[in-house]
């Protein structure tokens, strides 16, 4: 039979032993409530995000980029927001793209769904609706990331041989027949290789691709590592985590060096780089950023509470 503890807990002990279910409940509430009441938090985009945005916006219409989409639903919270922001920019600028993955067999389908969603959204908003095979091609999944990435750098078309993709309402066709791949002979024919990644494929690409400039969209946990690559100039732009997505969405709304109530300034770029005011720019970055602040506030509060409790109990003991 269980015995009851005769001595009640002191205030200091209570502070150190908040029940886990209570903490989880508060965390769930704090993470969920701001989703119902969207607020626009002030934001100053960081240089890495500004570079990412500016490089994309400076591409002429009809340019082509290669996208390595190495994420699945397990990192939807960050990677999907990044992919959506990227796709909105590419589709509005009329940039065609080729997608491949070396990370996960599920990644091509996740990318396909996201592209379809944003293409439909742009189409409904009165813009051009991107069509598979005509405006973008999905090469699919490749095992052996090291070998495939070396092949991409040395003989890009070799990875396309034998691959098929689905044009709209048609059976699959050889990807080499797609208009997107016309004129592409080497990876250097792409303006950028953009990675949307949640895995270590970032270093595989960084180590092997030398013929195309690189830009990465990574999860929050990968930001410290990739910041060193950005600082050394190995990456032309970097978008990291929810903050990176929020930066891109801010830039898409306000532009860069554009006069207005929320002017975003950059020392690097003297030109005015417009945004897309009046369009659907707010995505997952705007939706998640306030919740993230609330959750981090709870974490800091919990750390302080625990430490105050420990300090009080030590003082009492002394």
């Amino acid at each position: 039979m269980a015995t009851l503890d005769p001595t009640p807990k002191s205030f200091a002990e209570k502070l150190q032993s908040v029940p886990k279910p209570v903490l989880y409940l508060v965390l769930f509430l704090l993470a969920a409530l701001p989703l119902f009441f969207p607020v626009k938090l002030p934001n100053k985009p960081i240089d890495a995000s500004i570079d990412f945005y500016a490089h994309l916006m400076q591409l002429p219409e009809g340019s082509k980029v290669l996208i390595s989409s190495d994420w699945t639903n397990s990192t939807r919270g960050e990677s999907m927001g990044e992919m959506e922001a990227l796709l909105r920019i590419l589709m509005r600028k009329g940039i065609k793209f080729v997608v491949y993955t070396t990370a996960d067999p599920q990644a091509p389908q996740v990318a396909r769904d996201t592209i379809r969603k944003i293409a439909d959204e742009e189409g409904k908003a009165g813009g051009y609706r991107y069509k598979p095979f005509e405006d973008y091609v999905i090469l699919g999944y490749y095992p052996n990331g090291e070998g495939t990435t070396s092949a991409i750098n040395n003989k890009f078309l070799s990875i396309c041989e034998g691959k098929k993709d689905w044009p709209e309402n048609s059976p699959p066709r050889d990807v080499l027949q797609s208009p997107v791949l016309q004129g592409i002979k080497s990876v250097s024919d792409f303006k950028y290789l953009i990675m949307v990644t949640a895995s270590s494929t970032n270093t595989v690409v960084l180590e092997r691709v030398t013929k195309a400039p690189l830009m990465f969209m990574v999860t929050g946990v990968m930001v410290p590592e990739n910041t060193t690559y950005y600082a050394s100039g190995q990456l032309k732009g970097l978008c990291g985590g929810v903050k990176g997505v929020y930066d891109l969405e801010t830039l898409m709304e306000d532009g860069l060096n554009v006069e207005g109530p929320h002017k975003v300034l950059s020392e690097k770029y003297t030109d005015v780089i417009p945004g897309f005011p009046g369009k659907q720019n707010a995505g997952k970055g705007n939706a998640y950023y306030p919740s993230l602040h609330f959750a981090l506030f709870l974490l800091i509060l919990a750390v302080i509470t625990g430490n105050v409790g420990m300090f009080l109990s030590k003082r009492k003991g002394a």
């Binding site: 989703l35 490749y142 034998g162 270093t203 960084l206 030398t210 999860t219 939706a287 998640y288 993230l292």
Partner: protein
């Protein structure tokens, strides 16, 4: 897709999400069921993708060739691709006590290919970082960088000039690099007080770095939770059940 189909998909997703979060309360069968369901789905998907996205397109189709159809041109088969089958199959000999030596052949080929890439890989990854570390610490202009938004463009920063504040940043960077490198001087006994102090500082700076990395890790985990909350409350309840925007 119909509304009912979309709602059914959302409902399954919401139930699975709640099922997986019940582990926070305690280990239970509801959680176990969805965990195994997820593992089964992922394995099944990977198995199909292994054939459709890899073996078929990259090996089988090249081996047998294809006739012209649906806009695709005919392709000749290359029977030499059959040579890959025994090499790949040898990998499975690792399960045989008698013939497991054969598995070392494909492993050796993979190791050889990988090792051959490493010199280039290392160079591409680290040499630009070493070059990036060589930063100037001697300013060539005033301390504070002028406002780039100054009304008079002549008052803005001059390209190529290193301002005092930037030089200070570079100095902190180089100091950090040197201190952290000195922490890893394991090959000889360090007695010099200066190097010892730098090493101790290096340890502290590493801890600050690890703290920052841990902070971003926590932030990422929170983002994943927020996304699940968004899925349940906004996508499923608000938009799916109540059709609210």
């Amino acid at each position: 897709m119909t509304y009912n189909h979309d709602l059914a998909v959302l409902s399954v997703g919401a139930i699975a999400t709640i099922g997986l979060y019940t582990i926070l309360y305690r280990e239970n069968r509801f959680y176990r069921f969805f965990e195994h369901l997820f593992l089964g789905l992922a394995s099944g998907w990977a198995l199909v993708a292994l054939w459709t996205e890899t073996l078929k397109s990259l090996w089988w189709d090249k081996l047998v060739g294809a006739s012209a159809s649906d806009g695709n041109s005919a392709a000749m088969g290359y029977w030499v691709y059959i040579m890959l089958l025994p090499i790949g199959a040898m990998g499975y000999m690792v399960f045989s006590k008698k013939h497991n030596w054969m598995s070392r052949i494909p492993i050796g080929i993979i190791l050889g290919l990988y090792s051959g890439q490493q010199f280039n890989a290392w160079t591409n990854r680290y040499i630009p970082q070493m070059a990036g570390t060589m930063k100037s610490i001697i300013p060539t202009a005033g301390f504070f960088k002028p406002d780039p938004n100054a009304l008079n463009p002549a008052l803005g920063p001059v390209k190529g000039d290193l301002y005092g504040s930037e030089a200070l940043n570079n100095l902190i960077f180089i100091f950090t690099v040197l201190c952290v490198l000195s922490y890893f001087l394991f090959s000889f006994d360090v007695k010099n007080k200066l190097v010892k102090s730098a090493s101790l500082m290096g340890r502290w700076l590493l801890m600050i770095g690890f703290g920052a990395i841990f902070g971003t890790t926590v932030m990422m985990r929170f983002s994943l939770l927020i996304d699940r909350m968004f899925f349940i409350w906004i996508e499923f309840v608000k938009q799916g059940l109540f059709h609210l925007k």
